[in-house]
Amino acid sequence: MSVTLPGLLPELEVIRKDFPILERTLADGRPLVYLDSANTSQKPQVVIDTMVDHLERHNANIARAMHQLGAEATEAYEGARDKVAAFVNAPSRNEVIFTKNATEALNLLARTIELGPGDNVVITEMEHHSNIVPWQLACERSGAELRWFGVTDDGHLDLSNADALVDEHTKVVAFTWVSNMLGTVNPVGDLSARARAVGAVSVIDASQAAPQLPVDVAATGCDFLVFTGHKTVGPTGIGVLWGREDLLNALPPFHGGGEMIETVTMQRSTYARAPHRFEAGTPPIVEAVGLGAALDYLAHIGMDAVHAHEQAITAYALEGLATVPGLSVLGPLDAAQRGGAISFELEGVHPHDVAQVLDSRGVAIRAGHHCAKPAHARFGVQSSSRMSSYLYTTPAEIDALVEALEYTRSYFKLG
């Protein structure tokens, strides 16, 4: 615990104590070095405790229940909506829809935004599958055309043909804020403005951004934004769709069922306004409550401080990785231009084998295509290894990673 870097969270050891799993030891008594936070983040005690308290003391169904427990559960659930609205700086709480995860939020949009032959949807080559496949399916159903921004050799969006791509027939421009593979931070304000200029709606996939950056939907000028709870120190089973209220209320229903209706007869039904229109059935109640606690936790630390920490650790990691012979990083090499997920190749060792050897040393990273096959294909690789840090990551953990990579090279007898 020696290295200190400018930007590191000052109370890092205290913060680490908030995360019970970080005390775990793995096989052979090795301490856990968790560098897979872009895959899912760990949960602070306060999130777990809030969920337990809800389940042990306030559990009831919401909205429909009129008794005291029902009122408490409803207040907790709707209170979480207020917290999300504040977290993304939404003009109205009615603009916050709880989904199962980011994937469901993106599918909701791809199912409900009207498309037809002659229309087009523009995405990018660096999207997560969850922001590709829903649009492919929507285009197949509707006859619309799917287009995409390419990626430059240094891992940025290729905007050179932007005027041709986003044209007067574009209905949707959907893009990630931070790439989960390349780490690239995209110019979301410019892209949103470009969409607006042609009358298209913009959709930001903030799954990797929301954990790391201050998110301000008003400042980005976007129309829709999604993120997922389990990457923002919240539980699984909960995601968020934010959308401009007028746009949401103009969309048809997504799933039908309890809670999303105004009235139902056997012949026909009418639907509630947003957010309830899009929350059919019993929602993930305890999960929303947990997400609320998670966002409180992040807000308490401060998203600017979280971001500074991320930048410091990422810069330190890029330096460390550069010392490993045969290792090459995919994506921007300047920490200031990127998020905290760093994908790399180690010459002569397949990513699975890298991950396996690292795991035997307690270092948890991800190997594979990270649900971004097209971005891998763009760089002519089929898979990669990825380390990803978060607010609890220490420089010592980066040292452990680098050391384990050296060990991997020697294990596979590379020079």
């Binding site: 909205a63 429909r64 009129m66 005291q68 029902g70 009122a71 409803t74 207040e75 809670e259 209706i261 105004e262 009235t263 509630a272 309830h276």
Partner: protein, 148 residues
């Protein structure tokens, strides 16, 4: 839980003997509002002329709170200039959303002050507001129809 602060005598009286109930002619706008969580419903007509709420007639299904609120609402707005009625609506809304901290003004709200206790029962606030929301909607539509 103070049931009596919710179920004031005035509320129960209006519930048992609602004022101005039934659908009447003439009217410029008719709306149908539902409380989707519990199913309470109101069909409501507004007749405006010369800037004055000439009549509000309604048919409603619902609990004591929602029925009494409709009855009190008609007492408060019928015969008033539209802008004054809107002010009364605003005052009632503020009372309901005040979580029990707003002191109601009897001069303005008359029997409506009996709903002060409802504000402490979040699940019932929607019941008290259903007919007011319907009235506001119908009134806006009437005004639009006459101006447009």
């Amino acid at each position: 839980m103070d049931l009596d602060s919710l179920y004031q005598e005035i509320i129960l009286d209006h519930y048992k003997n609602p004022h101005h109930k039934g659908l009447r002619e003439p009217f410029e706008a008719e709306v149908h509002h539902v409380n989707p969580t519990c199913g309470d419903e109101v069909t409501l007509r507004v007749h405006l002329s010369e800037g004055v709420v000439q009549d509000v007639s309604y048919d409603a299904l619902g609990c004591s709170i929602s029925q009494a609120a409709a009855s009190v609402m008609t007492d408060l707005v019928i015969g008033k200039p539209v802008d004054e009625a809107m002010r009364i609506h605003g005052e009632f809304l503020a009372l309901m959303q005040g979580k029990g901290t707003v002191e109601p003004d009897e001069e303005v709200l008359e029997d409506g002050i009996a709903f002060a206790g409802v504000a402490k029962f979040p699940a019932r606030v929607k019941c008290a507001l259903l007919s007011w929301m319907a009235w506001k909607d119908a009134t806006t539509r009437s005004l639009e129809a006459s101006h447009g």
